[in-house]
Symmetry: C2
Subunit: 344 residues, 2 copies
């Protein structure tokens, strides 16, 4: 937990600096200091985007056939129609097995500093690979079993060859991760708030602008900042009050503690990105809260010790609505998959 | 079985008339007598299409939340990426329950004279309603339970009101069926073969035209005729030879007999429409055959007593490829669903 603690304290320092400036500086300038508009894509030097990788990754993303029983694709828990989520409190995967936590959206997910609620996946590539053998995800006994299924579908061998032209045997789990990762790194959703951050003051309706101000002054930006409006650090859920007393969670999830066994990590989760949050209920790691106003109320209460008035919650929700972006065309539109089949 | 027998004999009469004309008539004229191009949509007087019904039906089609565990939407077994199928031999529904038969595509399905392999659903509307309470489909204990889930999603009450403006309580199962039916009645996939039937001789590549000729002369058109190239009658699967000896089916399905208990209905199924058949493996009511050439070989063998040569199969497959149409834009592209949620 060393690294994220450092980040958190840095965030706190930045926050107090920006808080002291609230009165003096215009709202847009404050926002530009705290947040950043979305990039055109999320490719990196380590994980570069090529059209061939993206085309392959997009097909694989929508294809249920590599899973144990042929019913689970990435898109089953990350549905375009539900903004890259499944609408469930906790995901249900292959053989109807329960997942321990809520499916976060894949939209803009590659911006986050780690993947999964507890940060036990390095990045979207790592997540995609390990989903193949996650018992409640794709459920394959090993990576080779998944690759065998992919190899048996006419069309994929040629697509892998094109995406990874210099490799002798390109159909392997690492390349599955790289291809799906390349696709996911294209899934950015520019929103009215991005237009605002780029200088268009009219992009935020009046209530949303009031909500932005309230979001900053309440202290939400201590954690929900940067390009993802979150997704950049860990934080304890329930800093001032046990979270389950407010959320009504039926199971107490100790969060990152289960990964690190460090007592300081008890109830620590990755701070969720708030991009498209209005479109991705239910909320929190366990999907225990159904509506956005209630989620806002609880966060202010248990993280900041603030009891927000109904009107204040309404303002903040209006701001959060401005984080709803446009679905990428190549996400809203399903690819046509290679048609050949096999007996699962 | 009275009605479909009559249809079959009529079909046979038409067939022998057209067979005798093969030598004399040009291929296109024969085709125009046996088949019909797709209509613009499949609305009827009984089931009219309105934009409001279609918009509602499209949202419902993609929404998993009305199902028992929140994981099954119409689109789970009728995925756009797999041309309205699920790629499985037999569908797997809610709670990972096995369905008894293969999921047929929803594309052009409203053209068929009955729904489901055994004709035990009247039409697409009836199918949609009864899927809600099908234990391996949506799995709801009763229709009211499904309606309760829909009612709880913000956005749907207003959409039902708009789609059924003169009704006091429009959220009911009949309207669920009508809305999804209206949407499905827009799912037509014009293909090169339709262009050919409309008079464009160049729309069929040479091999496909040879395949069309072979398809007619082999006798496939006895059953696979009309606008759906099938989907207009019942027929015994295995007229001349037990089907399971060729398909390797692990379970002998007695077909429509289980519905009517009429011995004449043993092994009788609805003749499948061959539109988009190249995109919708695996084949037959039990998905027992993985590839199209093998399916063509078996059909000629067990239905017509003809052993096709490899080249003849290749011709027919080329013709069948010409039945692959364009995915409707509002099918390939997922709608954005009302975002509010509830605990399933």
């Amino acid at each position: 937990m060393k690294k994220h603690k450092a980040k958190f304290f840095m965030g706190a320092v930045l926050l107090s600096a920006s808080l002291s400036a609230i009165a003096a500086e215009p709202l847009m300038q404050q926002a530009q200091e705290l947040f950043k508009p979305l990039p055109a894509d999320m490719g990196t030097q380590e994980f570069p985007i090529t059209p061939e990788k993206v085309a392959l990754g997009r097909a694989l993303f929508f294809d249920p056939r590599p899973s144990l029983d042929g019913t689970v694709s990435c898109s089953r828990c990350h549905m375009p129609a539900l903004y890259g989520t499944d609408g469930l409190p906790k995901a249900i995967g292959v053989k109807s097995r329960d997942n321990p936590r809520n499916s976060p959206t894949v939209l803009n997910a590659a911006l986050e500093f780690v993947a999964h609620w507890r940060g036990d996946r390095k990045n979207v590539e790592d997540q995609a690979v390990r989903a193949l053998i996650g018992p409640p995800s794709f459920g394959q006994p090993d990576l080779a079993a998944a690759m065998k299924k992919i190899e048996a579908i006419d069309g994929y061998p040629a697509m892998f060859k094109k995406a990874f032209p210099n490799e002798q045997n390109p159909i392997n789990a690492e390349n599955w991760g790289k291809a799906i990762g390349a696709y996911e790194r294209t899934l950015v959703t520019p929103s009215p708030f991005d237009a605002y951050l780029k200088g268009n003051a009219r992009a935020l309706p009046t209530l949303a602008a009031a909500g932005l101000k309230r979001f900053i002054s309440t202290g939400c930006t201590a954690c929900h900042n940067g390009v993802g409006v979150g997704g950049g650090m860990y934080q304890k859920f329930g800093l001032l009050e046990d979270y389950w007393k407010q959320t009504g969670s039926t199971k107490i999830d100790e969060g990152r503690f289960d990964v690190t066994k460090d007592p300081a990590d008890k109830y620590v989760f990755k701070v969720a990105s708030l991009r498209n949050v209005a479109m991705t209920p239910p909320y929190f790691h366990d999907g225990s809260v159904a509506t956005l106003p209630e989620a806002v109320r609880i966060m202010a209460q248990v993280q900041l010790g603030t009891t927000l008035a109904a009107g204040e919650i309404e303002e903040i929700v209006a701001f959060l609505n401005s984080l709803t972006g446009t679905l990428p065309k190549d996400f809203a539109t399903a690819p046509v998959l290679p048609a050949s089949s096999f007996k699962p």
